[in-house]
Structure formats: structure tokens, C-alpha cells
Symmetry: C2
Subunit: 388 residues, 2 copies
């Protein structure tokens, strides 16, 4: 177990407090990051349906999942074995049986079937079919949307979580260096990706790396306008420029980072845009204070780039912490207009000032920690446009 | 584009034929593998909602996704630019606006709002909230579950798809060799994972590797009873044994494989179980014939291991092809009782004879291709218990 039992109990308490606020007595957690956060459950099994059930009047949640994964639950969670409930393999990807039928039965048997039940309605792995089966299986329950209930509990990190994120930042520094050391004329894009992966996972002499929730994104030239392209096996040519968006991950905790690189002198428009982005992020980092709202943070950036004639219509960043594929974002706070979340110490964000124009883009980003005095970056890689 | 336009048109035709069978006029495709299969769309953007819409009377589908991903759609799909419809960033992870509101509006504007609309009700990224918003947004539509409609179209591969899977198999052979070459007493588990990743992605002199839809799974000792555990940074000790389940991936096409390895002479019970598994898979591979049902394939295996006193209560394998995280399975055919799918040439499967007992497990698996005469394995790594 990666956290002391005390810390899990505190997470449970905050979750129950929020359940009370939401008017929810039973919470069905399908988001693997939330399952991990509450119980420690850590296995690549979220491609089948599985849940953690929190009951407001019970100390321990239940884990309900596939039979062959029950042993993983026993070795990775703090739950007693009798709180780990496996369903038979005949429920897996069947057109007849659905795992949520099994979950509904368990809840009915435990006398939970007529309570107010929170569902993570927009969580990645809670499908439309899961919802339909819950409605059918528990006709007397009252369902409420609790999509990001646990995500909001995750917002302020403990010191141990911050320690893991600092380790993740060491890994992302190493991986970004590996990208820069490997990229070159005649090298294939996939070779840069391979070097990044190796650095992320091989880690340091002191600790190893975990898999990141998003794979390396390495668009080149015109494709830098498309931030979520991955890589091909094309060879880099002289004059190519690319963005590298990656993370380090330690025990599911992430520190993302993006940099922009060029092979030889890049076009003036790229250099100019990189200056604007760098000035914008540095101005923002210098001025973030606890007590500010998320939209005020965004406004610092917007004003900085507006002076240079630029405008970014996508959010400036988002909350980060522990997570599973397909996203390392926490799906709570976004730096954008209308988000009134107040910055507090031990919140962590990916400050994501990418600007993507029609034919090119530049990304220079940082994972940041809100402190008592302002904010600090977790990683140390310089924020330059890298020219090789 | 990785396939000629003819091949995409054929995929569209088979999809429309199946839509007619299902009684569906409009199909909303959310599964990234199905989006890729029909259009070529390939970017790591499935952490926000995005869809491909197939209309039974239109040649081209629509792509609807986030504004910053529209350029990726332009460069990776065969669609005309006016079939690529971006939604603004304010729809992303918002508590007010939902991307499916946008999709519903588009469909209404195009006069599709009162038709029979198929939804992938149990696809990973089609959440309960997506469904609720579609119901609200198109109150006069008639919705039908079409969860695996396109998945079934994907079942029989084209020769070009098989060629990609053969390349994926070259990559998995390389990656399994890297695992074996790296593992050893005093080596950390994450270093084996790093070596696997590097081999998967660096590829060969002729072609590079793509990211696999599942990360390396490397449980050790008692944890081999938990097939979906990944890795830690613990050092291997003399006498350890481990299972290695990985894949190679070329252009989203996968060839998975698992092997079992031991550092020094493994316990007799592991060796005995490995013999049973090896005999079972080899008997099954020798006897698979086109024309058999999936449950008949499973029965060959069951009878083989029953002679030795063993029983496996999870399915023996599943259909494979192109895919995105979190799964490389196609979610159609499973080798298990009750699956009456008839084996046909150019179907491809992960034959997955893992046996997981209470305190240990053994996996020796193969990616197979059904041929006119029987079946062949895509990869070449010998099926031994690896002792180092």
C-alpha cells in the first residue's frame, strides 16, 4: 500500500462529507482514479466493469469486480477480504449478463436498494448500459449524478501525494532530456518515443517510473497545430520543429510537461510565438497567489499574450494528481472564464499555455504546486525553445 | 492514410448493411477503435467526447469533436473537410455544456432528429451522461442499442489488416525477447517494463511500433494469480517467477502474447502447470478448423486440460485487431461455452490459455489467424516456460 491507512480513512471521511452535501447515501465509483484514491486498487482491469461502493454509514467501501482481479484487490487495497466481491467471468462482455446486474443485486441484498445512490454519470467507464442496468436493477433507488464528487475531494493534495508528484517531475525532466538527446535529422519519430518511454519507466537509481495516463504526443511541423497526434516512423528532416507533450508518473501520480523543439533554426513565426508563450507562462507563474480564482489566473495569461496580439480560445490548464488512462487531468478545475475555484496551498495543476494556430503551434507548459506564498514548478527543465 | 479509400468504402458498406439488419438509420460511433476503423481518425483525444456519425443514406460519415482536434481529423481521415465538425472548447469538461448537446443539435439541423438512431450503449467512452443528453436533445428519435455493431464488421480482416498484424507480431517477438534478455536477479521490475516499451516502439529497421492498448503486465510469484497487475520497482530475487503479457502494435493493429519466466529452477507445480497449458494450447492450435464454433474451440482446450485434472473458468480468448486503450480485445467473439460464432478465414484471435490458481498462475498465449486449412500463429517466440 502506497499510503498509510490513516490517509485512506481521511479520504473516506471527506468523501462522506461531500456525499452528505450532495444528498447521497451510497456512492458507486467507476472512475479508476477514484477507485485507486479511495482504496489503493491498482491493476489494468478497468476495461471490464468494476466499482467501489461507498456507503455513508460504513467504514469500509466494497470493491466489486471480475473474479480474476479479486486477488489484485486483495494485494493492493486496504480493504478486508470480505469487502472484496468478485463476479464470475460469464458477466464479461456478454450480450446476456451485465456486471451492473451483479452490482445491483449486491446492493439490494445489503439493503441499499431503496437509498439515494450517487452515480458517476460522466466518468469514462460508466457507460450508458451501466446506467440502464442500474435503473432496472434497483427500481426503488433514487439516483443522483455524482460524476466528479470524489474528483473534487482529490483537489488538495497531502504532503505524501506532493512527494510522489515531485518524483514524477524528476521522471519527466529525464524523459524530456531523452527526447531532446534523441531527436535529430535522420532519426525516426518512433525512436524519440521509445527513448521517452525508456526514461519514464527506467526511472532513477532510487525509484522506478509508472506508465503515464496519456502516451507521448509528438506532432511535427504543420501537425503541431494538432496537439493530440502521437508519432509515426517518418524520419526527421533539417528544419523540422515539433512539440513534445509527456509526463512522468510515480505510483499513478503525474507531472506533465510540454516543450517545443526545432532541428536547425526555426521559422521566425515559431520563434516569435515561443517568446509570447514563454513570457505568458512566466508572468502567470510569477503572479499566481493563493486566494485567486481560476479565472483570474487565466486572465493574467490572456492579458500577457493580448499585449502581443494573441488570443487562446482553449483553457489554460487543469488540476492534476493521480490518474489512469485515458487522461491525466482531474476533471475539476480549469483555468478559464467562469471557473471560480479559489487557489489554495497544495493544489496542483498542469499550466498548459499551448497556442495552436492554423498551421503551427507552440507548447511550453509546467506542472505547478500552489504554495502559501504563490506557486512553484515541480520540474526543472528550462522553458526555452529547444534548437538542435 | 493507412488504408486505400476503397477499403474504407467497403467498411462503410458493411456497416450500413448491418445498420439495416439492426433497423438503424443513423449510427453514433463513440468507440475510438470503431472511429478509426471507419474513418482513419487517429489521435489521443478520446478523453473528451467525440463521435463519428454514419447516416445510412450518405456516402461519408461526419466527425464531430473538439476544436483543437479538428486538424487531426483533417490529416488522418479520408473525410472531406466539410464533414469535420468541431465544437468549441467551452464544451470540454463543463458542468453546464455537454458535447452531446452539440451532437444532438447537429443531427437535428441535418434533419436526422426523428430517425432510428443506434448508440454504442456499452462502449468505453459513451457515458451515462452522453446517453441522457442524447435522449433530451433528440426527444423524437428512436434509440436502439448498437453497442458492438461496428465491432462485428471488424471481425474478418482484409489482407492489408493481416499484414499490419504480422508486423505487430514481429514487434511482440522483439519485445518478449527484450523482457527475457533484461529480467534477472537484482534487476528491477520497472527496468524490464522499460526494455519492453523500448523494443515495442523502436521497432525494426523497416518500421516503427505504435503504443499498445494495454501496458505490460508483469506480476511476480504469488501475484501471478492476478493477471492484470503491472510492475513495481522491486528487485527480482533468485527463485522468482513471473508472467509477461504484452503486445506489439503497428498502426493500431495488435498482436498480443504472454509467456511465463522463472529465475532459476521454478517450483514443480509451476513446471507441471506450464506443461498442461502448453499441451492445451498446442492441441487447440493443431485442431482449430474454419467451420468450427467458438465454443467448440474452447472445448478442445477444456478436454485437454481436464485429462490432467485442470479446469479454467475464464474464457480461452477473444477476437483482436485494431484498438485503442484500455483494451486490445474486439468485444465480439469469446472462446467460451455459448458462443456459436463460426470460425472463418482471416479472423484473428488472442488464444489466451492462462490458468490462475489461488497462489500462482501460468500464461502461454498466442495471436492466431484462422486460415483455409486451420490456423497459424502470427508470432514465432517458442512456447516454453523460460528458465534463466
Amino acid at each position: 500500500m502506497m499510503f498509510p491507512e490513516d490517509e485512506y480513512m481521511m479520504r473516506m471521511n471527506y468523501t462522506k462529507q461531500k456525499m452528505q452535501e450532495y444528498g447521497v447515501e451510497v456512492l458507486i465509483v467507476s472512475n479508476p482514479s477514484n477507485m485507486y484514491y479511495l482504496t489503493g486498487y491498482n491493476a489494468w482491469s478497468f476495461y471490464v466493469h468494476q466499482v467501489v461502493v461507498v456507503m455513508i454509514d460504513q467504514d469500509q467501501p466494497l470493491w466489486v469486480g471480475r473474479e480474476m482481479d479479486a486477488h489484485s484487490a486483495k494485494v493492493t487495497t486496504w480493504l478486508d477480504d470480505d469487502h472484496i466481491i468478485p463476479y464470475p467471468d460469464e458477466f464479461v462482455q456478454s450480450s446476456i449478463r451485465h456486471p451492473m446486474d451483479f452490482v445491483a443485486n449486491i446492493l439490494a441484498e445489503l439493503g441499499q436498494g431503496e437509498r439515494k445512490i450517487g452515480l458517476e454519470m460522466d466518468a469514462f467507464y460508466f457507460t450508458a448500459m451501466c446506467y440502464e442496468r442500474m435503473l432496472q436493477g434497483l427500481p426503488n433507488a433514487e439516483f443522483k449524478n455524482s460524476s466528479t464528487l470524489v474528483n473534487w475531494v482529490r483537489l488538495i493534495k497531502s504532503d505524501l501525494e506532493i512527494e510522489y508528484m515531485r518524483k514524477a517531475a524528476v521522471l519527466v525532466d529525464k524523459a524530456m532530456k531523452a527526447a531532446y538527446d534523441t531527436v535529430g535529422v535522420g532519426v525516426r519519430e518512433n525512436e524519440v518515443a521509445a527513448a521517452i518511454y525508456h526514461a519514464q519507466i527506467a526511472g532513477t537509481a532510487d525509484f522506478g517510473g509508472d506508465y503515464t495516463s496519456i502516451v507521448p504526443m509528438l506532432p511535427t511541423n504543420e501537425n503541431t497545430a494538432s496537439p493530440h497526434l502521437t508519432w509515426t516512423d517518418r524520419k526527421y528532416k533539417k528544419g523540422d520543429y515539433l512539440t513534445v507533450e509527456i509526463a512522468g508518473c510515480y505510483e499513478r501520480y503525474h507531472a506533465p510537461m510540454a516543450r517545443t523543439m526545432a532541428l536547425g533554426e526555426p521559422p521566425d513565426e515559431i520563434k516569435k510565438l515561443a517568446d509570447v508563450v514563454k513570457e505568458g507562462i512566466e508572468t502567470t507563474i510569477a503572479r499566481i497567489q493563493p486566494g485567486m480564482t481560476a479565472e483570474e489566473v487565466e486572465d493574467i495569461w490572456s492579458q500577457s499574450i493580448a499585449k502581443r496580439g494573441f488570443f487562446k480560445d482553449s483553457r489554460l490548464g487543469y488540476s492534476i494528481g493521480c490518474s489512469y488512462p485515458p487522461d491525466w487531468g482531474e476533471h475539476t478545475v480549469s483555468f478559464r472564464k467562469g471557473d471560480l475555484t479559489v487557489m489554495q496551498p497544495n493544489m496542483t495543476f498542469h499550466l498548459m499555455p499551448g497556442i495552436w494556430l492554423d498551421h503551427y503551434g507552440v507548447e511550453i507548459t509546467e506542472s505547478i504546486l500552489i504554495t502559501e506564498e504563490g506557486c512553484e514548478t515541480l520540474a526543472t527543465t528550462p522553458r526555452d525553445l529547444y534548437i538542435k
